[in-house]
Assembly symmetry: none
Homo-oligomer: 316 residues x 2
């Protein structure tokens, strides 16, 4: 069930012993909004902890600095930036998928898996929503909460670069900087630093780059061997996914990734002429208009061929 | 002489037949503030034109779309984003260097070469200043002026990434988007587009990447063959030079480039622990503390070995 802003805030006000869930492959927005909410709830005297099915990448450690993750039996479960149950991760979907009380989300494709969902699809990030939520909870946003919220706003917009940015996005960023967000340090960590492993991965990915339809479609293929040989994990692919679409003339960029259990994931990025979420919906996935994803039970080569064939036949 | 904001605005109000000068190697900020001012002055019924000693790169053509550059004898000269006379360019410094009536600048190092200078060094860009100036002139900021101002604000801050961004920067960006700035299109043009040639060059450069001193020194080597095979020229190397230093743990990044006539150029980028200009000075070159260059009469392999040897022996 969808609820309005004040009902969502009231749910939180009345809750205690709260478990906050982030999505699998956690990024700056799910972690930023999750830890901002965790800090806010704790400052209200509530018991709360945050959990994620996947390991939190070390570059995000500043988000939880000084926060104790308490152990207790959860009475209320809230998810942040989780568009559908299965994005909780395989284990967590099984454990918590039917038990989420409240979901905060900003995806247009949000499935209403929680008992109550507050979704603002015009928000560039979940953190943009949580900024309002935390203010409505009556919590003073300190520099640590500001760091968390700024992180999600910056990472989900490519540092205020993408079309999801609105005047409100900039105005909230202004307030967060005033409240002490270390915007410069966060942006250096998120955007200007590449690990040696990830640069080696980039090298291999560029070697796999292929073009179709006179350069309007570009594909990067990433196998498990490639990831392992660079000592990289799935989170390192976030930096790879935008590459294809950034090439002049490319309208649809695909990153094909070999998953476990004989599956292959496809990440799709598009120019404004094509809808990435429609391409992925054809294969049972979803997402945003400019960035979406889907998964297939086949080899990377087969998944690539299917996706490219669909694009060539139906779109170009 | 330094003047305050209202005096600078009054100078413009009282002026006519105005020549606006940008700095040489024009970038998004000098052009964005120049064309925003040009459009504003014309909408006030004044005669004005913009000029630059160097050619305006074609990617900025949207800034002057629909603007007629009138021919007249200038009675008033205003420079934008020009920190010192010689940055007008060699010819323009000679022609106009002593005749500039009013300068708008945001550089802490601004030299007061104009009769009157209005400088806000806390502004992230000249466009941030011109936003206030144009409002104070009583001109309604339309979507074209908004495009111009957004361009300089975005390019001079690395798209709101650098430490020069303040809350005001974000608030003005919000207003410009409301006034119709095509922020998404501008950012794609300025930041998100790589030519297919330059991405192929990046691939080859990453293949050449080597590390020394446990990853504290990284080297990319670019031969003439590599540039030719990608149909690239020297200007495409601007995107390559920062790569080495952005790798986690790298303190000194070298880009070794084969030149004509048996020469090799070395571009050095350093973290704040090392001075790039000192490394280059040892080989007869120079530059800034974080970015410098030098040239040697030898093969790329020899130049690389000499430079790495000097760094290992003298610095690390």
């Amino acid at each position: 069930m969808r609820v309005d802003f004040s009902e969502a805030v009231n749910e939180l006000k009345n809750a205690d012993d709260i478990l906050i869930l982030c999505h699998r492959n956690p990024d700056g927005d799910t972690l930023g909004s999750g830890f901002a909410l965790l800090r806010a709830l704790k400052s209200m005297g509530k018991r709360a902890r945050l959990s994620c099915d996947d390991k939190i990448p070390s570059k995000f450690s500043y988000l939880y600095e000084g926060v104790e993750n308490e152990d207790f039996e959860e009475k209320f479960i809230v998810s942040v930036d989780v568009a559908e149950r299965k994005l909780l991760g395989e284990r967590y979907n099984e454990l918590y998928g039917e038990r989420v009380d409240l979901s905060f989300d900003h995806h247009g494709t949000a499935r209403l898996f929680a008992k109550k969902t507050y979704c603002e699809s015009e928000s560039a990030s979940a953190c943009e929503i949580l900024f309002g939520v935390i203010e409505a909870l009556g919590v003073e946003i300190d520099n640590k909460i500001a760091d968390c919220l700024y992180t999600g706003m910056s990472t989900d917009t490519g540092c205020f670069r993408y079309s999801n940015v609105t005047p409100r996005t900039h105005r909230i960023a202004a307030e967060l900087i005033e409240k002490g967000a270390d915007h410069t340090g966060i942006n250096i960590k998120m955007f200007e630093t590449k690990s040696m492993n990830s640069i080696m991965l980039e090298k291999l990915c560029l070697q796999s780059l292929e073009f179709y339809a006179e350069g309007r479609v570009a594909v990067i293929t990433v196998t498990k061997d490639m990831l392992e040989s660079c000592n990289c994990d799935k989170s390192d692919l976030d930096a790879i996914k935008p590459i294809t679409r950034q090439i002049e003339g490319v309208e649809i960029g695909l990153t094909v990734k070999q998953e476990d259990n004989g599956k292959t994931g496809i990440s799709v990025r598009t120019s404004e002429n094509y809808d990435a979420s429609l391409i992925c919906a054809h294969f049972g996935g979803g997402g945003h208009a400019r960035a979406a994803g889907c998964e297939m039970k086949c080899t990377p080569e087969e998944a690539k061929n299917k996706t490219v064939a669909f694009i060539l036949e139906s779109l170009l």
